[in-house]
Subunit: 140 residues, 2 copies
DNA sequence: AGATTATCTGTAGAGTTGTTCAGACGTTAA
DNA sequence: TTAACGTCTGAACAACTCTACAGATAATCT
């Protein structure tokens, strides 16, 4: 935060070239100390990765409205039933969705309120008012 | 769209097999009508995709604290400077980050408050208190 | 001018991911 | 029992993504 170095790089050892080049060493150290653990960072990336496919996004948006069976999800999203099943398996692993089985039917629903919030936030970002909750001021 | 069926599949035409199978046709129609446009869904998936790589997540977490130059970002995140540059180019496209150039230095900062919120929300999801804003009750 | 620095870019290869097809499994109906 | 149904799974293939290396560019310094 104090960041005394502004425009001139501060080489730790002017002669040695194995040192990492830094401009604001103080800030680097501060940010590094606040950086979450590797496992947390990768977990976070995994969650976002699950939301990085249009098909899975459609499935999750559909599930925002309540539980649905696989064939209805396929009809809603335009994916094949096999595709929906594959997608749901990925989402089941990290417990983003959960299943309720009734006979040969499988009813899926959202299992994670954070994912619901991520979806809502993302939808407002993209311009689609959607679920009209999480209304917040945009100081973009 | 009468679709009062609950557990028994309602074949539109008992003889024809080219029809999509539905269980709750009414709900399918309702959800389909609320489904965002294709462009919005893919845009959303693209944004989440940008957050689906640990390296980019680290870069963005670092930028939560304020602007940084490329070499400091490399030192902070452990990525190569080339890797950071490639990552920043991806993030520059959809205006997730923005550049301020001063001489030969390039100072990057977050350009999108929604992405900041997505990151904060994701960090709380993963258990890392992090930026201690966006504190909300978890009814998981 | 030439050398050095910070950043950017193109390319190639390994690795991962999404989709489709074919068939498996367990459940229900005839 | 046999048949139909809903869902799940494995394998194969194209498409995409990440990483590293080499080199390009533009700014600064000697």
């Amino acid at each position: 935060m104090t960041g005394t170095a502004q425009a001139a790089p501060t080489p730790s050892q002017p002669g040695s070239d194995c040192a990492v080049r830094l401009v604001d060493a103080e800030k680097v150290e501060a940010v590094r100390s606040r950086m979450p653990a590797d496992t947390d960072v990768t977990d976070l990336a995994v969650i976002f990765g699950l939301l990085s496919d249009p098909g899975r996004v459609r499935i999750l948006i559909a599930l925002l409205e309540g539980e649905m069976c696989v064939c209805d999800l396929a009809a809603t999203t335009g994916l094949s039933e096999s595709g929906v099943s594959h997608a749901l398996r990925l989402l089941r692993g990290p417990r983003v969705v959960q299943v309720r089985r009734a006979g040969r039917m499988a009813y899926y629903s959202l299992a994670d309120s954070h994912v619901r919030m991520l979806l809502d936030l993302g939808l407002t970002h993209v311009g689609h008012a959607g679920q009209d909750r999480l209304k917040m001021v945009s100081n973009n």
